[in-house]
Amino acid sequence: MSTNKTSEQPLIEVRNLKQYFNINAGFFKSIPLKAVDDISFTIREGETLGLVGESGCGKTTAGRTILHLYKPTAGEIIYRGKSIKTAKDIEEFRKKATMVFQDPYSSLDPRMTVADIIGEPLDVHHMYKSEQERRDKILELMEHVGLNSEHAARYAHEFSGGQRQRVGIARSLAVDPDFIVCDEPVSALDVSIQAQVINMFDELQSKMGLTYLFIAHDLLVVRHISDRIAVMYLGRMVELADAADIYERPLHPYSKALISAVPVPDPKVARANKRIALSGEIPSPLNAPSGCPFHTRCPYAQPRCAESMPEFKEVEKGRFVACHRTEEINS
């Protein structure tokens, strides 16, 4: 949701973030799986940055690494001008940065009541002085997300998917964060419920001044909720721009193909749409192509694309693209 309050001061700055997982490849041998490979971007206070890409592109890993749920292989995460490094930094950071998970079924403990699920972050961070304060805080959170106070003593299985997701969101709000990583928060929900939850994210943002990193694969949803959108492919960021710009006029060949493939809920538009077909399949991140990771499927690829990785550079104000041929193919 576009908010006018979006300020220029970055809340989160990600610098050259890398996350490699070691994969066993035989006796005492391991090879790195480059899930996130050298990405840099900033998120301004009060904005929503959408992160899109296909399965396996590293968008979820990026979100989790930013929250230090995984220890980054390299790179820096800077929160309000301060680099997060020590264990103490991380603990402090986690009071300010939380996460909403995709699956509202497996991300809630079936043996805990809703009140305990929402209250757990408060327990972990010792954020209340009396039982009464804890209870009041939980009820306030439940009200924020549109849950009835009488639901507090119930268990997760008694709720529908949409309500469970509300519980997950209330939990993420418990510590009074200002940054939330939303990892596919609506993709498990029915269409009619999706809109309710998306609107709630909007409302909470304008009420509490929250900043979101919104990870999703549904491009229409991401476009609706985001101020800016970043596109990832095979662990790399290939384009970052304003939501409307990237949708109307994508510059990177991969973004072009991705956006042309979105099924538009309008028969006349859908019939007129020309899809840019991609040949082949996404290569395994264990065996990523040399140079630009997209060159094996790119309709514009040239020999130099296989040789060197294009720089992720600003081609227009606030618009970043990683492609050797940005100017040539878009003129």
Partner: protein, 326 residues
């Protein structure tokens, strides 16, 4: 004569908690060479409708009443022998999850050839050739090599192509696709949808496309059925449904999804939660969530009303329209 004619189909699941009326009086016809989309949310009965046609319901499920005619032949109560002939040969189905619909312990080739061998009188070599030909038809590269591979060696999109190849191997008249692209990425999804449309125009079979994604429907379907709580709210051509929706539920659905020219305005969600099938309201099943519900909506179920020759809807709002002479 219509290729497939479903009339007043009722399918229920008999559970410990009571009878769940998953499909509640569904009627439609499908002509040869058409693509029919069935949209609805989880629990709306769209998949159960398809499984009833194939008669592959879970043990607790049963067709209570109604008729399903394929080329004039009644399938309800026809018996397993007839259905074995129908399944695969006349009507075939592909499922949502290509990971679990293939047997991990057999090669792609063995599984394809089994389907061909069962339904035609081809020998082993001919079955092999036919399988390779089918893989080529669904744009699987290097089909001879794929024949010897196991499902885990293929990507999700490839597996779904194999499923389509298998479903089409015996040239069925109807292909039922139950959310065939939901588990796939958008670029792969676009490829599969194009492939289905392409093959459909080549072979000329009819397709029943079951999905919750209105974008997929817009792209692929000639006709659309919108289902809610086991019944049909609205049916008509794709253009009629998208540009002239006449049921409050369809209108709500279309309002609640972000569109291509999104302005960032608030979405208009449908309030409430999906219905509990064990505890159906008396009148229109959508009435408790409907912003425009009238007294009659709570009291009486609305029968299907004709909007025009290509369009019908079961919503009392259209009566008011008629009364007002709009």
């Amino acid at each position: 004569m219509a290729l497939l004619e479903v009339k007043d189909l009722h399918t229920s699941f008999f559970t410990d908690a009571g009878e769940v009326r998953a499909v509640n009086g569904v009627s439609f016809t499908l002509e040869r060479g058409k693509i029919l989309g069935i949209v609805g949310e989880s629990g709306s009965g769209k998949s159960v409708t398809a499984y009833s046609i194939m008669q592959i319901l879970a043990a607790a499920g049963k067709i209570v009443s109604g008729s399903i005619k394929l080329d004039g032949q009644e399938l309800v109560g026809a018996g397993e022998k007839v259905m074995k002939e129908v399944r695969g040969n006349r009507i075939s189905i592909i499922f949502q999850d290509p990971m679990t619909s293939l047997n991990p312990t057999y090669t792609i080739g063995q599984q394809l050839m089994e389907a061909i061998h069962l339904h035609t009188d081809r020998d082993k070599q001919q079955s092999w050739d036919r399988a390779v030909e089918m893989l080529r038809l669904v744009n699987v590269n290097d089909p001879e090599k794929r024949m010897k591979q196991y499902p885990h060696e293929l990507s999700g999109g490839m597996r779904q192509r194999v499923m389509i190849a298998m479903a089409l191997a015996c040239e069925p008249d109807i292909l039922i696709a139950d959310e065939p692209t939901t588990a796939l990425d958008v670029t792969i999804q676009a490829g599969i949808l194009e492939l289905m449309k392409d093959i459909q125009s080549k072979i000329g079979m009819a397709i029943i496309m079951i999905t919750h994604d209105l974008g997929v429907v817009a792209q692929l379907c000639d006709e659309v059925i919108v289902m809610y709580a086991g019944g049909i709210c609205e049916q008509g051509t794709a253009d009629e449904i998208f540009y002239n929706p006449c049921h409050e539920y369809t209108k709500g659905l279309l309002r609640s999804i972000p569109t291509a020219d999104d302005s960032g305005d608030r979405l208009e969600p449908i309030s409430g939660t999906p219905i509990d099938l064990l505890n159906m309201p008396k009148g229109c099943p959508f009435a408790p969530r409907c912003d425009n519900a009238m007294k009659i909506c709570m009291r009486e179920h609305c029968e299907k009303m004709t909007i025009n020759e290509n369009h019908s809807a079961a919503c009392w709002m259209n009566v008011r329209k008629a009364v007002k002479g709009e």
